[in-house]
Every structure is written in C-alpha cells, then in structure tokens.
Amino acid sequence: MKRFKGFVIKEFYHIFRDVRTVIILFGIPIAQLLLFGYVVTNEIKDAKIAIYDQSKDYLSAKLSQKILSSGFFELEKNLDNYNDIEKSFKEGKIKEIIIFEPNFAKNLKKNGIANIQIIADASEPNTANMLTNYTSAIINTFSREINPLAQQPLQIIAETRMQYNPDLKGVYMFVPGIMAMLLMLISALMTSISITREKELGTMEILLVSPLKPIQIIIGKVTPYVLLSFINTIVILFIGNFVFHVPIQGSIVLLLAESVLFILVALSLGILISCATNSQQIAMMISLVALMLPTILLSGFIFPIENMPLVMQWLCQLMPPKWFITIIKTIMLKGGGFAYVWKETLVLFGMMCVFILLSVKKFKIRLE
C-alpha cells in the first residue's frame, strides 16, 4: 500500500510539474463554456440582406422599414437590377434578397393581391430556412395589419409552453455536452497518452520489473486524472449555475455519482486504447479522431439524435457520452431521480465492464 501511495504521488508530480498543461486543463472548460454561452448560437441577428424595390411606393417602403426594424435583418445595399442578384450572392456577404414587384401598392389596391419574391442563399440551408421563416412571419403580420376588418372567426388558440427551458437558451444544451466532452478528453485521452508515454520512453519496463502489481500501476496512473476530471466537473457545474443560471433541479449527489461513473467508463476506455497501442501519436490520433468528433456529433450534443438516419441512431447507442448526456439532462434540467435514469446507468456500467475486461485481456506484462 505504501509503495502504491508513492507511485500515485509520483504521478501527481508528473502532472503538476507541467504548469502549462495544468493551466490548459482548467482553462478548457472555462473557455468552452464562455464560447458556447456567448459566442456560438443559432439565433439570427442582423443578417445582411439586400432589397430590390421595383415599385418604390409608400407601401413597399413601409414594409421594408418593418422588416429592417425587426432586429433580425440589416440592410447591406439596395439593388436596382436583376443582374446584381447573382453578383451579390457570390461575394458572399448577403444572405437574402427581397424583391418587390413593380406597382406593388397599386396592384394590391386594384387586384387585391401583390407579389414579393424572397431569394435566400441556401448554401447555408439552416440559416436560409430561418431567415425566410422570419421574413414571411413579418410579411404576414403586415398583411393582417392592412386588413383591419377581417377578423377570423373560430380561432383555435394554442397556448405553448416551453418545458424545462422557457427562454430557449442554448446553454441548457451545452453544459451537459461540455461535461461529457471534457471528461472524455481528460479521462480517455490523457490517460491513454500518459500510459503509452511510459511505453515509448521505455520507463514502462522499469515499472513492470518493480514489485508493484500491474493493476496497481494502472490504478496509480489513473487516480490523478479521476481527481482532475472530478474537479473540472464541479467547475463546470458551478459556472453553469452561477454565470449562466442553468438550474440543477435534481439531486446533486446523484449527479456527481453519475459523473464519477462516466469518468470511470472513459478511463477504462483510455486504458484499453493504451493497451492496444505503443506510441503516443497513435493513441492520440485514435482518441482524438475516433472519440472527440463522435462525442461532439453523435451524442446529441449539437445535433439531435432523433433526426438522424436509423443506422446512425444505432451507432449513437454505442457512444458512452450519449447515455451520460441523457442522464445529466434528466437529473439537472428535468429534476428526475434515480428511477428515471437507472437504465442509462446500467448501460454505462456494462460498457465499463466490457472495456475493463478487454484491457485485462490485452494487457501484456512482457515487452515484445
């Protein structure tokens, strides 16, 4: 036991000696939270548009004014012929062009119908979709305003409630996502690198001939990272709660316990990777390319899983972060207790067992 303690202390020295790494380890969650909280959003604000007004009458001017004052759009320029449309899009700044037909007000008065064309730059389909939705909503309101008489009979009024996240804040999604991403990074990536490092430098040999048992070596290697990950979890929850006001509805003890379970899953994955490889570069590429991107994209962090094709959805089931994010969301945002997450917990536990079993099978006490 004393030997083991010495070994763990050595590992701590290894990590804390390197000030730069420690700073980054604690800087990452903070930078990520701030980025997601303040910078990366899907909300449309001040999108650049152009208007091609062929009629230039009071009504088209009024409608343009209405569209521009909504806060979603910003007028980049006024066009005065059709050929400019293609040019403006190719320059890349303008996202949408609104075209009023000639004699807009006159047509409306005389024929009861007037036409507007909206051309959106759909090379960004998501933005294009949202922009046209906003524009048509504004035009519809305007159209209702100029018809004060027509009050609709038989109205069905939908009273909508946004459960769990009334202001539709993005941070509610990102706090669980960042937790999963970061715990994966520190636990899986750092562990696998630190073990392969000993292999690459040849110091693994020294450890193997020491009286420490292999299991003690592995546990000693991962202990500091468990602690680091745990501290990071608390930092993220703290910032999420106090800076971004993401509530913690459920039990905090359960939340932390589930985080520890996920840390253990990620660690066992890291151990498995390091057992299977010999160089840091490969361990790193596997962790980074095979773990990081799927953690971001296949876990429901940014893109909802239900929207994916069926095969992808099955693939998502294999991703540990997917289960963890579901657990965190249920506990943190919905206030669900253990009764709501026992299934997910069991899956994570099963994954951990599989990873550990595989690494025990792969672990070699002898060098080749």
């Binding site: 990452i28 890349g92 090379s123 389909p125 998501n126 209702r144 009979p153 409630r161 929207n307």
Partner: protein
C-alpha cells in the same frame, strides 16, 4: 535542395513504416466524413407527440389526425391522463404534449374561440423553437380548413393579400449534406495537418533524436521544409480523396473551379501547419503539445461557422474571428464549391490567408532553436 530531399525521404519512410498510423491517416477520415455528414442535420422529422384528448369530439379527433398526417409529427401515445404524458416527457420518450381540454368543440363554436395547450421539451432550444413553429403551422392550417367549411363564402379571407414566393438558390432542396460535406472536409484536413505536424517535432524532442539532427549541418529552413512537406502532400491528397467521396456518395455540387480549391487549400495548409509547428517548438512533451493544439483547434472549429452561422455571433466575436484560419477556408470552400465564386470574389480572404501563412511560418522558423534547452 538535396538536403531537403533526404529529409523528405526520411520522413516518408518514417510515416509509411508505421503500419498502424496508415489507416488512421487514410481510412479514418473517410469513414468519419461518411458518418458525420449523416449525423449532422438540423432537419426535424418524426417529432413524437403525446396527445391528451379530453374532449374526444369530432373536431379534436380531426386535429389529432392532422398532426399525425403532417410529415413532422408522429402521434406516439394517446391517453386521457395528463400525468402519464408528463411522466413520458420526464423519461425522454416524447418531444411534445398536446392537451385538448374538455368541451373544446363546444367552446369553439359557442364562443368563437377555444384554447389548446402545447407543452414542448425545449432543452435543446433550437429544436424547441422548430417544434413550436411546426405545431403552430399545423394548427393554423387546420383552423383555416374549419373556417372555410363553416363559412364557405370567402367572408373570412382578407380582402387584400400579399403573396410571397420563395426561391432557395444554390441548394434548392435545402439539402443539409451539401452544406456539411465541404465543412467537414476542411475539418478533417485541418486535424491531419495541425496534429501531425504539431506532434512531429515534439516527438523527436521527447525521444531525443532531435539532437542528432541538430548536430548535422542542416539549415533551419531545410529542416522545417522537410518536416512540413510530407504532411502537406498527405493532406492535399486527402482533400482530393474526400472531394471524390463527397461527389460520388453525396453528389455534392462542384460549381466552381476545383483547381482554385486546391490552390487555396495549399496556402491554408501552410497556415495550419505553421501553427502546428509553432506549438511543437513551444512544448516539450507530446502530451503538452496535444493539449495546446486541442485547445486552439476547439476554439477555431467552434468559431468557424461549421455548425452555426458566423453572422449570429456577437460583433466582438466576429472581430476575433478574423484571426481564425479555419473560418476563412470554410467560407472560401463553400463559396467556390456551392456558388461557383471565382478568384475575384475571394481574393481578399485569400490574401489574408497568404499573409497569415507567411507570419506563422516565419514565427515558427524563428522559434525553432538548433540547441538543446
């Protein structure tokens, strides 16, 4: 020149000798491209709706059927018990609840209006907003239908209407894959370029072989060129391969000049690799270099406009984004591939990238010292 050739030869031998590295460099990115492009979609289909119909009238049943018939919604459960619906939402089994109150139909025809309640799981704010918009659309559509039925004369229709036509240029079907493929390609070559070049020199440092190179008469620039060139070639090759996969599998449009794409890519890679080299001259262990690279890559990628639009970032962030090389290249590659922009349209961004490359490379050559610390 001959010295550089020798260094190049050495690097290539080192890369190709490593059997387990090859699939990581060549096969993994392609698999990733295929998998990730399918995963990255915001389109909502099959929103699971729990209907609590307390009225069970003709109108309420018709409204439910209308939801079921729309392409966005699936009526997954139906019950009279609201508690059951709340539980299902807590479990994550459903996305939205539609509750129709008692006497819905009666109130509607008596008082000319009636309320229904819609509860949406909005943890993901974007999907929440979309679900709400779709539901409102279905309800409004149904509403229009019953009004027309009750008052066949067009009394209800406004007398003046503005007719709106939409056209979506460059991507008329709003195909998300067309949008994602170029972006993910950029991401993959960035990871290859940044990580591999970043790790390379540190590795020599950590193992100690760098000293052997340091004592040779090789010049700094020759060494750096020899270190960069192999990964530059590999990354460009990967881009070509990725474009081919994108064209064959996803049928992404290639409107503009493919040569222009490669020309810009070759400059962009210099920036990225310069970055990687700088990181690697600044760190002592691979672990350190990896973490630093990861830190910057993450910020670059998240702010690159790959997943979310740059325009929706606050203006200070857009200013900061001017030093983000990934954002430049993603913008340029989308413009060329999807819109057919020519050099004239992109030359400003291109010049910035060129300047950037010069700065990064000179910085890293300057920082690399042929002396042990």
């Amino acid at each position: 020149m001959r010295t550089i050739l020798f260094i190049l030869q050495k690097e290539f031998i080192q890369i190709f000798r490593n059997r387990s590295m090859l699939p990581i460099i060549f096969i993994m990115p392609i698999i990733q491209l295929i998998v990730l492009v399918h995963a990255a979609t915001f389109e909502m289909k099959h929103i699971k709706l729990f209907v609590v119909d307390n009225d069970l009238s003709f109108t309420s049943r018709q409204l439910t059927a209308k939801f079921g018939g729309s392409p966005f919604f699936v009526v997954s459960n139906q019950s009279f018990n609201r508690k059951e619906a709340d539980d299902a939402m807590q479990n994550g089994a459903i996305d939205a609840i539609l509750e129709i109150p008692f006497h819905f139909e009666k109130t509607l025809y008596k008082e000319n209006k009636s309320d229904i309640q819609l509860v949406i799981n909005a943890i993901n704010g974007t999907s929440g907003g979309l679900i709400s918009a779709y539901a409102t659309m279905v309800i409004a559509d149904y509403n229009k239908g019953i009004v027309l039925k009750a008052f066949p004369v067009s009394k209800s229709l406004p007398t003046k209407s503005i007719n709106t036509n939409y056209s979506f240029w460059y991507n008329p079907e709003l195909n998300y894959k067309t949008f994602m493929v170029p972006g993910i390609l950029v991401l993959l070559i960035t990871i290859i370029g940044f990580m591999l070049s970043g790790m390379n020199i540190v590795r020599e440092k950590e193992i100690g072989t760098i000293e052997q190179i340091n004592v040779t008469p090789i010049k700094k620039y020759q060494f750096i060129t020899g270190k960069l060139l192999p990964f530059w070639i590999i990354a460009l090759f990967e881009l070509a391969f990725g474009l081919l996969v994108g064209k064959l599998l996803f049928n992404i449009p290639i409107v503009g000049s493919i040569w222009l794409v490669f020309f810009v890519a070759s400059v962009y890679l210099l920036v990225i690799m310069g970055f990687g080299l700088l990181v690697s001259t600044l760190s002592n262990t691979q672990q350190q270099a990896m973490l630093i690279s990861y830190f910057f890559m993450m910020i670059f990628i998240l702010m690159s406009g790959l997943f979310t639009s740059i325009e929706s970032m606050p203006s200070w962030a857009q200013q900061v984004d001017r030093i983000n090389p990934v954002a430049y290249f993603i913008r340029i590659i989308r413009m060329i591939l999807l819109k057919g922009s020519t050099f004239k349209d992109i030359y400003q961004d291109f010049l910035s990238l060129g300047l950037y490359a010069i700065i990064m490379l000179s910085l890293s050559v300057w920082r690399y010292k042929k002396r042990a610390a």
